[in-house]
């Protein structure tokens, strides 16, 4: 009996404890909600007070913050960006403060934040295909007035400027321009008695010689960044079939599903099958390792956009940097140097920002040779701003990687301005088409035929052209 009584008491205590716990948890949750609401209220209050401050002048000595998100670059490069952009702007006045935030997941963070009505004041995008989504939803501002105020149209290369417009209006400015070409190791070329190729046939001959030597003809790889597929495939397509092929396809004059395109895609497969693109190690090499192969004389050349210059410094130490050369990729149909152009980033202004004027001022600075040169010195290869004044910029104070980066792009700008360029899919293909195009490795691996691949890409592109998702294009020269 006594034992039963004790048992009952224990049960009772447990029940009471359980009820108390539930009540505490419930209250805790409610309190949590309440706190959140209170915090939300506080945020609103702060926001309101900030708005009030925004209308008046500085009242309490605190600067108004202009936010800008960027991808999670290496620490040294982050420092360069802070030293150049952040310092320039924050030292230029004392009412606002530019706050830079580096995020590894910036490409997914920004659309989510913008959709929720938040996000940074200056909106980064990894290409116009991202921005076009924001434009559709009025999440970024039209920049036409600022373009006129600052004369951006006359300053930016027209092929780049036009690619950032939709329905005749400008929505972003370019960050860095990448031009495709061939990196080569001068020391290796000297040892082998090779000359940098000028014609298509010379290039093919060199690739075969490198293969005979037992090294990779071209260093290439997509480890860690599958979209790299589009670099290599589009360069082969553009220089084999001619720069106008992708232009006509994007203009809707030809379908992507056409025999010339299928033939060019088939050539990319032929190169892959012959092991020109790092053989079976294609998926095991990232951009840095590809440059390391070049430094180790294990590949003859690297076919890539100038974005890769940022990796050169870690493999070619010190004076070895001078061993790296960069030339345009020879074309089959022209002797002119033709550069594949793309934008590695572009910047818009959040339609919800209260500081649009200030954001435009910052964007304008990013389109100056002072910014481009300062950034190139600290972060060679990435900040090659596509502005016309860079072609006349005196780069005598540049050395090493910065010099390589500056000289390669300076040569390219002259050619591009004359119409000798080709379109790179990463910038000029709309999102779904680009995703389909990046699947070109399905052709290389024999999973689908070039014709089937072209049909799939064509289906996406046709739908996106019909939806007005392509940008206006300048016709490239082909003679």
């Amino acid at each position: 009996m006594k034992r039963n009584g004790r048992k009952e008491n224990r049960m009772k205590k447990r029940r009471i404890l359980a009820i108390m716990m539930s009540v505490i948890m419930g209250i805790g949750m409610l309190a949590g909600c309440g706190k959140k609401e209170a915090e939300g209220g506080l945020e609103k209050t702060e926001e309101n007070s900030e708005k009030k401050e925004g209308n008046s002048k500085k009242t309490d000595g605190e600067k108004k913050q202009i936010t800008m998100w960027f991808w999670g670059a290496a620490t040294d490069y982050q420092e360069t960006m802070k030293n150049v952009l952040y310092s320039w702007y924050n030292d230029s006045q004392d009412e606002y403060e530019l706050v830079l935030e580096f995020r590894n997941t910036v490409d997914t963070d920004i659309p989510v934040a913008l959709a929720a009505g938040n996000g940074p004041d200056i909106v980064y995008a990894s290409g116009p295909s991202y921005t076009s989504k924001y434009v559709e939803e009025d999440l970024v501002l039209k920049l036409d007035d600022y373009a006129e105020q600052y004369g951006w149209k006359d300053r930016v290369l027209s092929v780049m400027y036009d690619s950032l417009t939709l329905d005749g209006s400008l929505y972003s400015i370019p960050g860095g321009m990448c031009v495709g070409g061939l990196y080569y190791n001068k020391e290796l070329f000297k040892k082998q008695g090779w000359e940098p190729p000028v014609t298509w046939d010379e290039m093919m001959d060199l690739l075969d010689k490198a293969a005979d030597l037992g090294i990779y003809p071209l260093g290439a790889g997509n480890k860690g960044w599958k979209p790299c597929n589009d670099h290599f495939s589009s360069m082969i397509i553009n220089h084999y079939a001619g720069a106008d092929l992708i232009y006509r396809v994007l203009e809707g004059e030809d379908s992507f599903d056409n025999p010339a395109m299928a033939e060019a895609v088939d050539i990319t497969k032929e190169w892959y099958d012959k092991g020109y693109l790092s053989g079976e190690d294609y998926v095991n090499l990232d951009s840095q390792e590809v440059i390391q192969l070049l430094a180790d004389e294990r590949c003859a050349m690297v076919m890539a956009p100038t974005l890769y210059t940022q990796f050169v410094g870690q493999s070619f130490m010190g004076a070895d940097v001078d061993n790296v050369g960069f030339i345009s990729m020879p074309s089959r149909n022209t002797e002119q140097a033709v550069y594949d152009v793309s934008i590695n980033s572009n910047f818009s202004i959040n339609s919800k920002t209260e500081y649009a004027e200030e954001c435009a001022k910052i964007l304008d600075y990013m389109l100056t040779s002072d910014f481009a040169a300062s950034m190139t010195k600290g972060w060679p290869g990435y900040w090659t701003t596509p502005i016309k004044e860079m072609s006349d910029y005196d780069g005598s104070d540049m050395s090493g990687l910065a010099k390589l980066s500056y000289e390669s792009v300076q040569a390219a700008i002259k050619q591009i301005d004359q119409g000798y360029f080709a379109y790179h899919p990463a910038t000029f293909f709309p999102a779904a088409t680009l995703t389909a195009f990046e699947d070109v490795d399905t052709v290389w691996q024999g999973v689908v035929t070039p014709e089937d691949f072209c049909r799939t890409v064509a289906a996406e592109l046709d739908a996106e052209i019909a939806g007005g998702k392509t940008c206006p294009l300048v016709e490239p020269k082909t003679d």
């Binding site: 959709a115 599958k226 998926v283 095991n284 995703t435 490795d441």
Partner: protein, 305 residues
Amino acid sequence: MEMKTVKIKKEKGVNRHKRAGTLTYHLLSLPAVLLSGLIILIPAVQTIYSAFTTWNGISDDKVWVGLQNFRELFQDWVFWRAVMNNLKWTMLFVTVPVMIAMTAAVIMARFHIGSKSFQAVYLIPYLLAPTTNAIIWLNMIFSPNGGLIGFMQKLGWQLTSPLGNLDTALIGVAMVDIWHYWGFLTVIYLAALRQTPGDQIEAAAIEGASGWQTFYYVYLPNIMPTVRLMFILITIYSFCTYDYIYLMTSGGPAHATEVLSTYAYSMAFSAFKFGKAAAVSLVIGVFGCIAAFFYTWFSRKEALE
């Protein structure tokens, strides 16, 4: 009459007791129900709705397209490749790490020498972040530049990374995930094995049972509930797998390692087809529900037994 009154009072007392018990259960389950409702149910309903729309992930407008997303998915060979890869992944995970972990756990349960230090070592991969594990394997093992494979190649061995080949890429990634996961499974099995009554093990020894017979007739029946539970959890986990595949191959080469979650991710964040991505997520959810159903069924069966 008195007897009747006492009986009624007793019944009332029992009913009150029952009601109080039910109320306690309800109160106790309330936080979980609220959390599930807010964090799981609302997004789940939104995802289900989005699967029948063409939503770009940013816009407020979701255009209802009925079953179009599903029709397109079922006609896409990449989708079926992803489904097959998920099934292969599940098959690999319900066998290979289970066998490795079971063997290790039995050995440690029977022979205690060095088991503590061994336990510390095999748990290390599980404690490391997937990114770290992926970088270790990609750069220190599979890399032809500075990795083990590159080193072996220099010694004249004709070795290549499994990730570059369509036939071996999935196994290559699974191998890394298994390397990270088996230690955790071992801990679970070892904990279950240690619950086996000592008198049963002694009786088996007295009867002259071999090691295999002791495992099969004594240990295994005792740990069967744990084995079943882990089987279900591994199945659910396999259909949601994402991290190692995304980190190591992003679904390539040529979709050889594509699984439903990586397929949904690229559909959403590369092509901005969130509606279609939601449809893929729904398919993942269906597989998860099937596994969850079996889990519940097993649990109830065990409770009844």
